[in-house]
Structure formats: structure tokens, C-alpha cells
């Protein structure tokens, strides 16, 4: 079967003071249609850059990204960001409707129903007339989830969407996202630094190396859906998998640390010299 997303030999260089920085090196990966792919990697490994490329916000320096747009009536991607990204000047309802309205895909009552549906699903319906300043951090993040789902994208791109939330809210949102996705299957690329999160949500998990990032290893997650996250966390298989990944990831985190330390001492030397 033709993959939904095919990334071939993609590298990305950034111009930085005194040279270039290579964020990605020869990344190769494929994502099947309606697959939930999680990517974990040490911070600074270029995983966000990769996601931004898929979302059309960034270009590859070399290599090739091809994404199959199967249904032109649906938008290709919708992104959910780690930072607060709901528009402060729009009400909850208008934020959720934004993706449809800004592309002139608003279809009257049908679209309004869709907005209502996802606000209900994310527990925000009561707050439809509120402005974001009146919401908590978790509610704002649920709103950006709703905003993405309302557009019914072929691919959902999530960049550590729950990283800024407290533990309890994170657990709830993971479970809610899992349920929503099981209901509205779409292709997902989900970036996270949490191995637990990756294994709970994903069909496949890819571990990335430290910068310049490339794919170290891919793991297939065998757990059946629908998944009960509490139950899953108790299973030996779950621990076995996360353990395996951690062994792999630890080397990379340590390498990233060494890089960071090297960069800092270089900088200090330059400043003092």
C-alpha cells in the first residue's frame, strides 16, 4: 500500500552565528494511512522541525517529502502546538470554527453542528462564549485540539501538545485524545518526549537521535484498541517496551547533553578569548 507520508533523505540546515547548524540528517520514514505515529527524541533533535515541514511551515534543505492528498475536500493537515495557540481575540466557539471559516469552507448549519460536536467532546460547550483569558491552560489546549478536529484534516500533526500541562490534566487529555482518535481515524504524527505517552497513544513509535536528528529505531506497538490507558500501564509488555526505548533514548539524551556542554564551553571560550 502507498504510504500516506513518505520522507526520503531529508536534511535541514539552519544558518546560525558563525556557520550552519544541522538539525536533521537523512531522515527516512513512512507513515501509513490512518496510522498513529509517535516520534520521541532528546530535546533539540529536530523533531519539531520535522513536524513543521509536514505542516507546510518549514522547507527541507535537501531530500523529499511527499504526502498523499486523497480527498481534496478535506484539508491536508492541522497542527496542534505545544505553546498556547488559541487566538485570544476570538471566543471559544469562533476559535473552534476558525479553520473552516478562514478557508471559506464554512457550510452553515452543518459546520456549526460540527463545531458544537467537538466543543461538547472536549468539554468546552458550556464555555462557547468565553474568551481564552477566562480559560485554564488545559481548557485552552483542549480548544486547540477541537480547532484541529473541526477541520477534519487527513493528517493531524501534534507537537508535544500536552507537555506544558500538569500531570492530572495531561492524563485526562491523553485519554480524551485517544478516544477522539479511535472515533475519527486520521493519520497522526505526534511528537513527544514522553515514552509513556508515545506507547499509550501510538501504533508505531520512532526514536530519534540527538542532533543532527535521524531515525534510530522504530517500534510497533502491539496493543489492541480501544485502549484502556490505566490498564495498559500495569502490563509487563508496556514496561518492557518503554524500557527498551529508554535504553536507546538514554544514549541519545547523554549525547545531547554532551553536545550542549560542548557548545556552552565553546561559547564561554569565545567570549573570554
Amino acid at each position: 500500500m502507498k504510504p500516506k507520508i513518505a520522507i526520503r533523505n531529508v536534511s535541514r540546515f539552519f544558518d546560525v552565528k558563525g556557520g550552519t547548524f544541522q538539525a536533521l540528517r537523512n531522515v527516512n520514514l513512512e507513515v501509513g494511512a490512518e496510522q498513529f505515529l509517535c516520534i520521541v527524541g532528546p530535546s533539540g533533535c529536530g523533531k519539531s522541525t520535522l513536524l513543521r515541514m509536514l505542516g507546510g511551515l518549514e522547507m527541507a534543505s535537501t531530500g523529499d517529502i511527499s504526502i498523499a492528498h486523497d480527498n481534496p475536500a478535506r484539508p491536508l493537515t492541522a497542527m496542534i502546538f505545544q505553546q498556547e495557540s488559541v487566538f485570544p481575540w476570538l471566543t471559544v466557539e469562533k476559535n473552534a470554527a476558525y479553520g473552516l471559516q478562514v478557508t471559506n469552507n464554512w457550510r452553515g448549519a452543518e459546520s456549526a453542528e460540527r463545531v458544537t460536536y467537538f466543543l461538547e467532546k472536549t468539554g468546552l460547550l458550556k464555555f462557547r462564549d468565553f474568551y481564552p483569558y477566562q480559560l485554564s491552560g488545559g481548557m485552552k489546549q483542549r480548544l486547540s485540539v477541537a480547532r484541529a478536529f473541526v477541520t477534519n484534516p487527513e493528517i493531524l500533526l501534534m507537537d508535544e501538545p500536552f507537555a506544558a500541562l500538569d500531570e492530572q490534566n495531561k492524563l485526562l487529555l491523553q485519554q480524551e485524545l485517544g478516544k477522539l482518535w479511535e472515533e475519527f481515524r486520521s493519520t497522526v504524527v505526534f511528537i513527544t518526549h514522553s515514552l509513556d505517552e508515545a506507547v499509550l497513544l501510538g501504533d508505531r513509535v520512532m526514536v530519534m537521535s540527538s542532533a543532527p536528528g535521524h531515525i534510530k529505531q522504530a517500534f510497533d506497538i502491539p496493543f489492541a484498541r480501544p485502549r484502556d490507558f490505566l490498564e495498559l500501564r500495569q502490563q509487563d509488555d508496556f514496561h518492557h517496551l518503554t524500557r527498551q526505548m529508554w535504553e536507546l533514548l538514554r544514549q541519545e539524551v547523554e549525547a545531547a547533553r554532551a553536545q550542549e556542554a560542548g557548545r556552552l564551553s565553546q561559547e564561554r571560550a569565545r567570549r573570554n578569548g
Partner: protein, 270 residues
């Protein structure tokens, strides 16, 4: 709205809405000015200060009251306000457009920013003789001096307003395939509005200052003219009434801008 928000929050998550901008309640805010006035009154009555220069507040108030019953008083205010309105509009509209263009388009920024950076630090009042020379003593010179002051402030604040919109909001719009123009109207403009209102608020004070100064030297009616005239004939109390009127106008206009901001930008939660 606010109460409703607080109630719904407690049932949902234990997080309080962000703190409001705290205002002093009016009675508290009025205390220190009132104390100063009383002190001034006592000092004037007891002869601690020279009443020729510092007439007692009650005598100023009396003059004020008498002046409000003359048509000249109201026509002075009317003429000054209409000069401000015309000059303000002449400066604010182009300032806003140039500022937005500078914020959105790099070419516009590279054309206008050096010019503005060069001219902005010049105290606009220094241009008054030149403006009087070009536009004469008529109404146009008052409009122009106000317009110039307002233009620069609006341009700079609108530009900053656009440029301070966090990049993430543009990312969201771009990812959802918003067109260029949709992006300007749904992200850049609403995001810049707080900056634009900051500009308007600062402009009120500057416009008033420039107008009064222009009326000192080149007018035969208006509040500034009345203060200047009072000085030349040594009607000190009339001068103080002029000060009070200028202060009240400044206060009222600033309040009006703040009111409009709360009205049109309810999402800031002020």
C-alpha cells in the same frame, strides 16, 4: 460575565482567571488631590503663599463658574476640540496605515523606518514656526501641528502592535491554509489592536499639548489662546481656569479612549 467565569471555573478546574488590572476605587483615588487642594486653600487664606500667583482654589472655582456662563468659554472649548478632532484624524489615519504597512511588509519598513527614526526624536513643537510660516495663522496650521505629532506616535505604535503579535498565531493560520489577506485580517489586525489603542491613548496627551502650544502663539480663540491672553492681561484666575479645563479635557479624552478599548477589545479581560 466575570462572575459567571469565576463560578464555572471552580466547578471545572482549580485555576483562577488572571489577575485584573487593579484600579484604585474612586474615593481612595480622590483623597490625595483633595488634601492638596485643602492645603493650598489654607495656605492662600493664611497668606503663606502669594495669592497673586497662587489664588485660593475656591476663588478659582468661582471664576470658573462665572466663566461657564459666558458663551466665549464654550466657544473656546468647542473650537479647540474641533481643531483636535480634525488634526487627530489627519494624523491618526495615515499613521495607522503606514504603521500597519511597516509591521506587515519589510519593504515598507525599509522605506519608512529610517525616516521615522530620524524625525521622531525631534520635538514636534520645534516645527511650529515652520508650520506657521507655511500654513499661516489660520486653522490649517493647528490641524497640521496636531496631525504631525499624532502621525508619528500612531505609526510607531501600530507597527509595534503588528510586530509583537506572537509568531505562533501566524503559524496556526498558515498551517490551516489561510490566504495572505485572511491572515492580515484575522491575525495581524486583531493582534495589533492593543498596540493601536496604546498609540491612541498616548496621542491624546500629545495632541492636547501641541494644540495648546499652537494656540498660545498663533490664534485668537481657543483654550490655549485664552490662557495666553490671561497671562498678558494678568488675569491669573482665568489662567488657572484654563489649566483646569485643559486637564479635564485630557482626562475625559483619555477615559473615552479607554472606554472604547474595553468596549471593542473585551478579550483583553480588563
Amino acid at each position: 460575565m466575570a462572575d459567571q467565569a469565576a463560578v464555572s471555573h471552580t466547578e471545572h478546574v482549580a485555576e483562577t482567571p488572571p489577575p485584573r488590572k487593579r484600579r484604585l476605587p474612586l474615593p481612595t483615588a480622590a483623597l490625595s488631590p483633595l488634601a492638596l487642594l485643602i492645603l493650598w486653600e489654607i495656605a492662600a487664606r493664611l497668606g503663606w503663599i502669594e495669592v497673586q500667583f497662587f489664588p485660593a482654589p475656591t476663588t478659582i472655582a468661582e471664576t470658573f463658574w462665572q466663566m461657564t456662563r459666558t458663551s466665549q468659554f464654550w466657544s473656546d472649548i468647542g473650537i479647540s476640540l474641533s481643531r483636535m478632532a480634525v488634526g487627530f484624524t489627519m494624523g491618526a489615519v495615515p499613521g495607522l496605515l503606514v504603521g500597519l504597512a511597516m509591521g506587515l511588509f519589510r519593504p515598507a519598513r525599509s522605506v519608512f523606518q529610517p525616516l521615522i527614526a530620524a524625525i521622531y526624536p525631534l520635538p514636534k513643537i520645534a516645527l511650529l514656526p515652520l508650520i506657521l510660516l507655511i500654513f499661516g495663522l489660520g486653522e490649517m496650521s493647528k490641524y497640521v501641528i496636531v496631525a504631525i505629532g499624532v502621525f508619528f506616535l500612531m505609526a510607531i505604535n501600530s507597527m509595534a502592535g503588528v510586530m509583537n503579535v506572537p509568531a505562533i498565531y501566524f503559524d496556526v493560520a498558515r498551517n490551516l491554509k489561510a490566504s495572505r489577506w485572511k491572515m492580515y485580517f484575522t491575525v495581524a489586525l486583531p493582534g495589533a489592536l492593543p498596540g493601536i489603542f496604546t498609540g491612541l491613548r498616548i496621542c491624546v496627551g500629545t495632541a492636547l499639548l501641541l494644540l495648546v502650544a499652537a494656540e498660545f502663539v498663533g490664534a485668537n480663540e481657543g483654550i490655549g489662546y485664552r490662557v495666553w491672553w490671561a497671562w498678558s492681561v494678568f488675569w491669573v484666575k482665568t489662567m488657572y481656569v484654563g489649566f483646569a479645563v485643559i486637564a479635564l479635557l485630557g482626562f475625559a479624552l483619555t477615559y473615552a479612549v479607554e472606554y472604547l478599548e474595553r468596549r471593542f477589545l473585551p478579550w483583553q479581560g480588563r
